[in-house]
Amino acid sequence: MRARRTTTVLSVLAAVTVGHLIASRAETGLGDKPFVTSASEGRVAHLVYGDVEVTDVTPAKYVVPQVSTELARMAGGVYLLVSVKATATREPTTFRGAYLVDQSGRQYRASAKAECALLVESGPGIPAYAVYCFDVPTDRLAGLRLEFGRGSLTYSTFQGDAIADIDLGITAADQRSWPKTDDAYLAESTSLAPIELESVTLTETGS
């Protein structure tokens, strides 16, 4: 009788503990792994809420603000200008999550000082175009992937949501040559039309 009672008490305690662990994880969802759809540059990743495609990756040393009186922004490493086409499928969708991930799993956010896109909004069936500018260390370029999805308004995670994991196709040869670039491009953000990067010739200013 005593053994049976002990088993019952232990069972109840185990059930409460497991329930608490599940509930506390579900509260934020921070630890939940996203559902990944893999793709590569030029190929569309079909997610449950939208289609995502990387249409171009361009290295640059400088990104020039749209306001012509402001100074150009110089990369600490090398700027990667990643052009993305995002199309929602069911309802207006904001794609808030866009991170580059290197081969060691390090995550890079879009550069705030470059004044390019930080998020993009799309209506169902209406493609939205965005250019994200990432400042990446010169020895971390090869094998970079773009993780892209709805993201979280509060946390830098995808919280168990569906995301696109897109290989940017950057090779070891690119990693050797791209850091030598002196190219400068006008900062672009988002548009309803495809975005053509505009090359800029820099002029020195007196200090």
Binding site: R90, E91, P92, G123, G125, I126, S191, L192, A193
Partner: protein
């Protein structure tokens, strides 16, 4: 199984489904926050074409709980080749493969009701929703330049403050342009401020 076991648990076994139902109910509180409150799920009022729908929308402003009361009807749906381009600050054509739907609405509301900052959406026959670009159409539900009272931002702000010259009449009409892919059939118009509440106007 021993017959005695069933007899011994004859009260607990029927209680098991009820306990499970209670467990699911108690742990589903996140469904409201993450799903119900996060989308358009609460229809305040609805009406057919040309008929007014009257609604009272309860919400919180900077001072606390309040509400807005208004009536709205779908006067007509149309199309246009001219879409206001926010970047160019001027009219342009919609993107390739995309059309511009014009939503004509008639409104009635007391002049002290806060109706700024609404969103007008259209829904197609497959249930896909298209919203007005709120960065281009900031006040889709009020007459241009006469949006009426502002909502207080903080607890020390007054309610009912109307910027000089922006007083609103009791009846007015609005015209909103929404981008929709070509070939989609619009069946509903929705007017809303904050999810989950909305007013639905049938287009047919």
């Amino acid at each position: 199984m021993r017959r005695g076991w069933w007899r011994e648990n004859r009260f607990w076994l029927p209680a098991l489904p009820l306990a499970l139902a209670g467990l699911l109910l108690a742990s589903s509180y996140n469904v409201k926050e993450y799903w119900y409150d996060n989308g358009l799920h609460d229809e305040l009022a609805s009406a057919g074409p040309g008929t007014f729908a009257s609604a009272t929308d309860h919400y919180d402003d900077g001072r606390g709980p309040t509400s807005r009361t208004f009536s709205v009807r779908l006067a007509a749906l149309g199309t246009t080749d001219v879409y206001p381009d926010e970047e160019d600050r001027g009219p342009g054509r919609p993107p390739k493969g995309v059309g511009a739907v014009v939503v004509y609405l008639d409104w009635e509301a007391p002049t002290d009701q806060v109706l700024r900052g609404c969103t007008v959406s259209v829904v197609d026959d497959q249930g896909r929703r298209y919203d007005v670009d709120t960065s281009t159409f900031v006040n889709s539900c009020t007459p241009e330049g006469h949006a009426g009272p502002q909502a207080p931002f903080g607890s020390t702000d007054e309610r009912g403050t109307v910027p000089e010259g922006e007083e609103r009449r009791e009846t007015w009409s609005t015209r909103t342009v929404i981008l929709v892919p070509l070939g989609r059939e619009i069946t509903q118009v929705r007017v809303w401020w904050e999810t989950p509440d909305y007013v639905q106007l049938s287009a047919s």
